[in-house]
Every structure is written in structure tokens, then in C-alpha cells.
Symmetry: C2
Subunit: 356 residues, 2 copies
């Protein structure tokens, strides 16, 4: 049995009795019951995943998976393809959006090359970890044939699983997902359309900022890719291989590996949620281990959130990716967990309880 199959089998349902136990604990604290709303919800679920009523959010990491896309050749992005490796170097050096936000919330950034179309041979200077696990030099152009073979998709998933296992062993408490890959909203929209059956137009957005003409082309390219490849909507691995991406596979693998290790995974925006969609289609139990951090500007994001059945934490009009929304989500979960573990009880503080 492959690492991929083994890991999927390892995922167990969460013990939902911890929801009630955690809420009972929250209700003893000096505040009206339920008055911290979703912060309490985050604490309950974190507690249930960890099976711990005094959990900690200690070591935190955002994993930014990078990969290139053959479909970029079709002119679907506002940015040239060389930006993917340039941004990888920026991540390593600490100058990107995800670096700033991760520092703000106390999370490490780990950059994972699953499939950048560039060999990083120069000396890499920077304080952020870089994991070289390239499966191939970018996907093939899905407008002309499958983006990857099924075997390559499994390898890329296993990169994510391997990273999850490694950082679980290192004692990390929570993971965030992130992505970098010029043109990657195109395969993400294709994944949404393939799995949910929605019209391509209704799940396709402007990515990094394309004009009307490029948008029409993008829609046409996605339709063509779906038409040529005919991904099987009931087989998420087939969808991933035919119209997905290497970094999307890495993200799906991280989520699968997180769930197998009972580590909460905070999912970033549109591209990361495409990874989460693949992961939860492969194993629906994974839904209990993931937290959707924010609602992206990308129109297809809401379709996936509804399909997975979760409400995002915040809506800040973000559309950068990299894990920026996930980092904000991690901080909000930590806030909720601290509420549960650091607040005084009514008894301790000598505060009178409700009359009702």
C-alpha cells in the first residue's frame, strides 16, 4: 500500500464528545455563555481534534507550496511564469506578504518546491526554510492534454503528506496552507467545475488581475481543458491529475497528512481550498480537521466553501494566496484557544452568574 493510501486509511473521526466538554469549560468562564461566538467554536473544535481540554497553540507553520503550470502558455495570467521562482526566492528571504503576516502571528514559513519550472542552483540566502521536493518542472498544458499522470499526482500528494509527517514529528501544533504558482487560479477553477458540476463562468475569477479579454480566454481555456481531459468527477485523484496542479496536490497532501496526525489545518483562499476540495473528496472525515480562514475575492471560492460546508472566519477581500489568509486564521484560532485556557472562571474570580 502506498504512503498515500496508508495515510488516508489512518484518518479517524474526531471525538465529538469533546465539543460538549469544551463548551462546558467555556461556560464556566467570566462571560455570558456563548458571547465570544466563533472564537468559542474554534476552541471547541481545536480541543476535539487534539482530544485535550487544555490544548496549546504552540509551534505554528504556514507551508507555501510552489509549482508551475503548463497552461500559463495560454496567456491566462497577468504575470509572466518566471514570477513563480522569483517569488520562491522572495519567500525564502522573507520579503513577501506571507512572511510579514506569518511573523505578525508568530508562525514559521516553510516553502516547498513541488513543481517549479526552474532549478534552484544558486545559493539561497534567507531565514525561511526551503524544502526541495520537485516532482516535475511544472505541469503539462491541460488545454492540450492531462496536466499530470496519475502517478505524478500521487507523488505530489505524498510530498505534502511527507511534509505533514515531518512537521508533526517536530512538534508543530497547527498547519496553514499556502500556494505560489503563476496561472494557478485556472486549474483551481477547473477543479471546482469538474467536481461540483457548476458552469465554468460561475467559478472563474480574475486571478491576479486580468482584463475582460484575458478573462474570456481563461474561461475558454478551462472549458477546453475539461472537454479534452474529461476528468471523472467521482474520482478526485483523476480530477487532480488531469486539470490540477502540483502545488495544489502538495496542499491536498498536507491536509491529508495533517488529519492523519490529528493536526488542525487552516486552509487559505481559492487555490488552497481547491486542494482541500480534493482532500475532502478523497476522505470526507478530513472536513473536521480543516478550518477555512477567509472568503477570497475569487468567485469560485464560495462554491467550494458551500460544497465543503464551512463558513470562513473573515472576509477581508484578500486574493493574494501564499497562505496570507491562513496565517490570520491561525491567529484567530490561537485567540479562541487562549480564551478557553487562560480566562478566569466565575468561581475563581468571585463573579456572580446569570440570573437566567
Amino acid at each position: 500500500m502506498s504512503l498515500f493510501e496508508q495515510t488516508l486509511k489512518k484518518i479517524q473521526p474526531i471525538d465529538t464528545s469533546f465539543y460538549d466538554k469544551a463548551q462546558a469549560k467555556l461556560d464556566m468562564l467570566t462571560k455570558p455563555q456563548g458571547s465570544l461566538g466563533r472564537l468559542e467554536e474554534f476552541a471547541r473544535r481545536y480541543s476535539a481534534i487534539k482530544e485535550d481540554l487544555t490544548p496549546k497553540v504552540g509551534k505554528k507553520a504556514v507551508f507555501t507550496f510552489a509549482g508551475d503550470h503548463g497552461v500559463a502558455d495560454e496567456g491566462v495570467s497577468a504575470f509572466p511564469k518566471e514570477v513563480t521562482p522569483q517569488m520562491v526566492l522572495n519567500f525564502i528571504r522573507g520579503g513577501a506578504g506571507i512572511n510579514v503576516i506569518a511573523r505578525h502571528v508568530g508562525a514559521d514559513v516553510i516553502v516547498v518546491d513541488v513543481g517549479v519550472d526552474y532549478e534552484f542552483t544558486e545559493e539561497l540566502h534567507g531565514s525561511n526554510e526551503f524544502i526541495k521536493k520537485k516532482v516535475k518542472l511544472g505541469t503539462n498544458n491541460m488545454a492540450k492534454g492531462p496536466a499530470m499522470t496519475r502517478n505524478e499526482a500521487v507523488k505530489a500528494l505524498e510530498v505534502g503528506i511527507g511534509v505533514a509527517n515531518e512537521y508533526a514529528a517536530k512538534g508543530y501544533d497547527i498547519f496553514g496552507t499556502g500556494d505560489m504558482g503563476i496561472a494557478n487560479t485556472t486549474p483551481s477553477s477547473a477543479i471546482v467545475a469538474a467536481i461540483t458540476g457548476k458552469e465554468v463562468e460561475s467559478v472563474t475569477g480574475r486571478g491576479t488581475g486580468i482584463d475582460d479579454k484575458s478573462f474570456d480566454k481563461k474561461v475558454a481555456v478551462i472549458k477546453k481543458a475539461l472537454d479534452i481531459n474529461k476528468p471523472n468527477s467521482k474520482d478526485a485523484l483523476d480530477v487532480l491529475a488531469r486539470v490540477g496542479g502540483l502545488e495544489i496536490a502538495g496542499i491536498a497532501g498536507l491536509i491529508i497528512g495533517g488529519a492523519a496526525n490529528r493536526i488542525p489545518v487552516v486552509v487559505d483562499g481559492f487555490i488552497s481550498t481547491a486542494g482541500a476540495l480534493i482532500a475532502t473528496e478523497l476522505e470526507p472525515k478530513i472536513k473536521d480537521f480543516i478550518f477555512m480562514a477567509h472568503r477570497s475575492v475569487e468567485v469560485g471560492h464560495q462554491v467550494m466553501l458551500d460544497w465543503i460546508g464551512q463558513k470562513p472566519f473573515v472576509d477581508l477581500n484578500l486574493r493574494l494566496g501564499e497562505g496570507t489568509g491562513a496565517a490570520i486564521g491561525i491567529s484567530l484560532i490561537e485567540c479562541g484557544v487562549k480564551i478557553m485556557t487562560e480566562m478566569a472562571t466565575f468561581a475563581d474570580a468571585g463573579v456572580s452568574e446569570s440570573n437566567i
Copy 2:
């Protein structure tokens, strides 16, 4: 001229040319233009308030104003009145929700007694600052007459202004507002109804968690208070005095003092926004200095947000008050400011720009 009048006169419009200057700076950073959405908006406005393109969010404070309400005698709250001083002690000792969240975001908590119906004579042990500026031992019961005299309302406003001046002088960069006062959703709803002219039923909620019967009573009490006191909707000071609260006045004063000192003020939920409503009615220029942190569960909150014309940062179903939402808002503003000041530019990082 009173401190109150002087401070209102001191407030100057913000230099909106800084919006464009700040956006120009944000657009040089290694991300698609505008892709960090509202984080960029926060950075722009913070920059404009400070008239600084490399601003910092250094020292941060949440001010939790405490006061009691004569109208609590009408049975409008789920909690007994003694909870106000009990919670003040909890704030000082660091066991309340606001203490946990403020620690999480690196903000100090400063507790201000503007009108608690209790003399704090015991030794106060705790690491959080306590400012004793009691104007009176709680408001009068507004269901029977004015909550305060106009002079008492001005004194309570000046407590907030004095605190703002003091912490501006101490070098604080950003303020958050918070409240504690059993029954204080009742005067807050009365303020919304008095100023906006909306029906009492449409601006009244469940506060800390009352049942249907108590809710009907609460609505009737607010209607009676408005009927007896006939606050003048065009005179915010009259509204504050007749149907307001001492801690609400303190919050309004902090906001006025913040604006006069060019310090951004992050406004918490329902009660704090009632304070912001008073402040912005007294001086509309104040709108540019305040940030609405979150959308409260309290139904009347949205009415005030629309009236003031701002969109809250997050909606996490919070209804605790104390400044808990404001603390989260401060962290998001700091995040946006760090984006503007810490990210690499395209030129520095050697990243190619958009083709479009």
C-alpha cells in the same frame, strides 16, 4: 471654554492625499495590486491619520470604561448589578476575556471607572492599570427621568478626553475602546433609537442573554425612557445625558480625544459604537479617525454602522464587549501597516511586474 469644547475644536480633517501616497507605496510591493484588500485599506487610513508613509503600530492600549446604570433596577439584564465591580476587579487581575485577547495581540488593558456603583476601597492586586475617575455612582434610572445632568455627561466625556491626552503623551500609537456596565445595552439601544429615529424594537437585542419576557420588558423600558426624557435627536450631548451612560460617555470622550491627538481609535461592538455615534454626531470629522472592528450580534449595531458609514472588519458573532473585538481589530490594522512597511518591492526582490 471647557476641555470638551476645546478638544472638539482641535480636531482637524485628515490629509487624504496620504491615501494615494500610501497606495502608491503598496503598489510597489511584491503582490498583485490591491490583492491584500482591506489590509491595504487599513494601512492607507492609518498612514493618513499619522501623516506618515512608514508608520508603526507600537504601543497599543484597550481602554475598558466601566459604569453602572440605574435602569438595571427595571430588570433589563440577565446579570445582577454587582457584576460590574466584580468584573472591574477581574480586569485588573487579568482574568477576563479582554485581558486574554489583549495579551494575544500585545495591547495593554487600562480599566477606567467612570461611574461604577461601588467604592473600590480594597487593595487592588493586579497587573492591569486602573484609573479612578468616578463621576457618580452609576446613572439615575432613565425610565424615571434623565440618566445624568448635562454637566455630568460633559464630566464623563472629559474623563475619556483626559485619558486620551494622557496616553497620547505616553507615546501610545493606537487606542481601542471597551465597556463594562450591567444593563448597558439598554441605554445603547435608546441612543440608537433617539439619534436615528428607528423603532425601538428594531434596535434592541438580547444583551447578555435575556428571555422573551425580559426582552419585551426591555423594549417597554426603552420606550418609556424615550417618552419621559424626550432627548433632542439633533443634540447628541442631550441624548447622552438623558438616555446614555457614564461609560458610554467615557468611550465617546476617548474617541474625541483620540481624534484630537491624531490617534486611530478602534471601536468595539454595540456599546462602544453607541459612544462612537455620540462622538461622530458631535463632530463628523471624527469618522476618519475611527475603525469599526467587528459586527456585533446585537441587532442595533448594524443600524449604527450604516449611520456612521463604515463596514466592520470581521463578523465573529461576538457580543461580550469589554474591548474584545477592538483588540482583534488592532491586530488586523497592525498587520496591514506591517504589510506596507515590511514587504519587499518588485525592484528590491527582483520580481517581474504584471504584464497588464
